[in-house]
Amino acid sequence: MDETVGDKPLLSLRNINITFGGVRALRDVSFELRAGEVHCIAGENGSGKSTLIKIITGVYRPADGAEIEFAGKRYAHMSPVQANAGGIKVIWQDLALFPEMSVAENIAFSEVVGRGVRLVDYDRIRAIALAALARLGVSLDVDAPLKAFPIAQRQIVAIARALVGEARIVFMDEPTASLTQSETDNLLAIVRNLAASGVAVVFVSHRLAEVLDISSRITVLRDGRLVGVYPAEGMTQSRITELMTGRTFDAQVRAASRQDRPVVVAVDGLSRPSQFSDISFEVRQGETLGITGLLGSGRTELAMTLFGMLKPAAGSIRLDGQPVHFSSNRDAIDAGIAYLSEDRLSLGLIQAQSIADNLVIASLGRILSGGLIAPDKKAGLVARWIADLGVKIGKPEDAISTLSGGNQQRVAIAKWLATKPRLLILDAPTVGVDVGARAGIFDIVARLADSGLAIILISDEVPEVYFNADRVLHMAQGRVVGCYDPRAYTLHDIEAAVYG
């Protein structure tokens, strides 16, 4: 440990209250950060995590009575300029970089532009960038445009930019959300280096496994209140979840044998060049088949082939024993296949449009009367599914974007159930859904399976398929490399195979 880790905190906040339009977003929250530690702020969406970060970085001003102490000085509130000058840096989830500019320009941007220098000194820009990258132990071509790099490298550029000048506290908001496992490991190593050099890192992530892995302490928020501050040592994922949601979740394997049921879909030797090859499996009525594998394993392409949006190069798909050839996803929908996209924000739902329209879009044929959409049939269909899946909404005419992630996902599931499918493919159904709401989604999935629907559940989070599927297929590089019965294997066995 570095000697800068002392008893005296680098930053401490007490009596933090803030109200937005009558809603108290934070209530008597306190927070403390020591130099050289990795500190995680955990909480569901709306728990006040980002509000707290915005108070520390000076974006929001807390109510009177707040006490902020940073590097030995007391403040009633901080201004963004004070925070930045004091070395408090934030890496937002969208990174806020300039794709057309070079890596060096991105890293040195604030140093060069922020100082009001009128002429650009490219040598100095390169020197600043190289120094910042060297501090992270990373080498990148600093002259290449940023857009030439994948998201993982851009993340590193964003961190390097935060280090330019005197960074003492770095906030990272969901830095691993779009990274693969090995990229995440790299990033976590960089974060450890950073902390070892005396910088305090505040880490916000939905992925509890890496939260436990990287952080030394965890501050848990719930509904704008502080639940507590806990050492990561001895903490478990389920304990954090309990603290975040205030409820207990007892994970139990749901798997059962459904061998006596009729086969709904049978896939044999299905292949698409450079995406997946020789995939064979069956899904029976009431059965949930889990498919797991890392990004790029071909799982989504496989799902889209079953859904008629991609054409197989070889192999067959049979539905109730009959071979099927889809020329579009409409054919697949009419045959009883539904596909919940992994990208709810841009492919699964039409964010600007209403809850009602999103719900009926795939089953317009069911609400027609005399060739025109019948408003009463539409309202009836919407009301039925909203009630059936327990979606919490204001009015059906409200834009779907006004709903929380969990409620949006319920509407997306309802949209597909309204097409009366026989096979429901759920691709990463809990992405962007809070821990508490995830359980609700899986309750729905279990209920649907019990009612006889065949389900394919795709997720890169092994525990999700382990606890909710009857069988788990492991895909890697376009092939099925393992098939597990959750009753015969431990979660750890499968995780070792997938992530190892």
Partner: protein, 332 residues
């Protein structure tokens, strides 16, 4: 009071509020400024002048809702008008029979629909920007039309064509009847048909719409084909009104149709917009123009005032949104 306000807060009222308010403002201001404004003559002139711009605006409306544009509306209309004129000329000119005219109208509608169809196919398959595609079509049609007419007028129609542009039925001008019918058909199609539903969805997010099992290419092609068809109807009305066809007639309408759509609350990025508020917006514009005319203002000045009106509306909308969100905060 607030309960009554809440009951008024329906989607229909919200859509109509902007253009409806402008309607009242224009009505009141000009009635006070000129005693002649509130007269049958004013409404007669509005009713005769509105349909050309109105039909072209309907042609512009659906592409804009899909997030696109059809800049070729006026030249598509000209081409359709030319089609009628040539078929009449080749079959007796002023002596041509009603049957020939009927054939000519059908051919003209087919020409308009074809122009739209081609644009739709190109936009749907190449994903080229609709502004560029329709601009290319516009230049193509203009060049072709000017080449074929040598830049001149085509005229000399049978007498029975005249009432289509100048006649009245039950006191309502025939062009106005055609336009009203167009508004009703467009309104029903947008609010109640599958095509209309899909048009809105595509305007907000074409990929998500495709993932929902909708043949988005088919919808885009149909939208542009219907747009071309509506242009053709406008072209036939224009032909009857001017008693001649000339490539370039109504050219200045293109941008006015876009602005009329926005004045009627159509969302510039697509996904939202209704036929009835656009209709009211068109009436506003035409009343404004007629009112200025009565006051003796120059026609060019009238155009400038249209521009001012649109800017004012945009500022008002921004204010309304701000006030509403402040109220929403206050209520919490």
């Amino acid at each position: 009071m607030s309960a009554r306000l809440a009951r008024l807060n329906t989607p229909f009222v919200r859509d109509m509020a902007g253009p409806g308010f402008a309607f009242l403002a224009v009505l009141i201001v000009f009635s006070l400024a000129s005693p002649q404004f509130l007269s049958a003559a004013t409404f007669g002139s509005v009713a005769f002048q509105l349909p050309e711009l109105g039909l072209l605006t309907l042609a512009m409306l659906m592409p804009i809702i899909t997030g696109g544009f059809n800049l070729a509306v006026t030249f598509t209309a000209n081409m359709a008008g030319l089609t009628v004129a040539w078929i009449l000329q080749a079959n007796g000119g002023v002596e041509a029979s009603p049957a020939v005219f009927l054939v000519a109208v059908i051919a003209a509608i087919a020409v308009g629909a074809l122009a739209g169809f081609v644009m739709g196919v190109v936009i749907a398959f190449t994903r080229a920007h609709p502004i560029l595609v329709s601009l290319s079509m516009m230049i193509f049609l203009r060049g072709l039309g000017e080449f074929l007419t040598r830049g001149g007028d085509v005229s000399g129609f049978p007498d029975f064509v005249h009432p289509i542009g100048h006649g009245s039925l039950l006191g309502i001008p025939v062009p106005m009847l055609v336009f009203l019918l167009g508004v009703v058909v467009w309104h029903v199609m947008l609010t109640r048909s599958r095509l209309g539903f899909n048009t809105y969805m595509i305007g907000s997010n074409i990929e998500a719409t495709r993932y929902s099992g909708i043949n988005t290419r088919r919808v885009v092609i149909l939208v542009y084909t219907l747009s071309g068809l509506m242009c053709a109807i406008a072209g036939i009305i224009m032909m009857a009104r001017f008693n001649s066809v000339r490539v370039g007639h109504g050219e200045s309408y293109v941008l006015i149709t876009v602005l009329a759509c926005f004045l009627g609350g159509v969302h510039p990025d697509g996904g939202f917009g209704k036929a009835l508020p656009v209709f009211v917006a068109l009436v506003d514009l035409q009343m404004l123009s007629s009112g200025l005319n009565i006051l003796g203002a120059n026609q060019h000045l009238a155009t400038a005032v249209w521009g001012l009106l649109l800017i004012t509306v945009m500022i008002c909308r921004w204010l309304v949104v701000r006030v509403r969100s402040n109220l929403a905060y206050g209520r919490k």
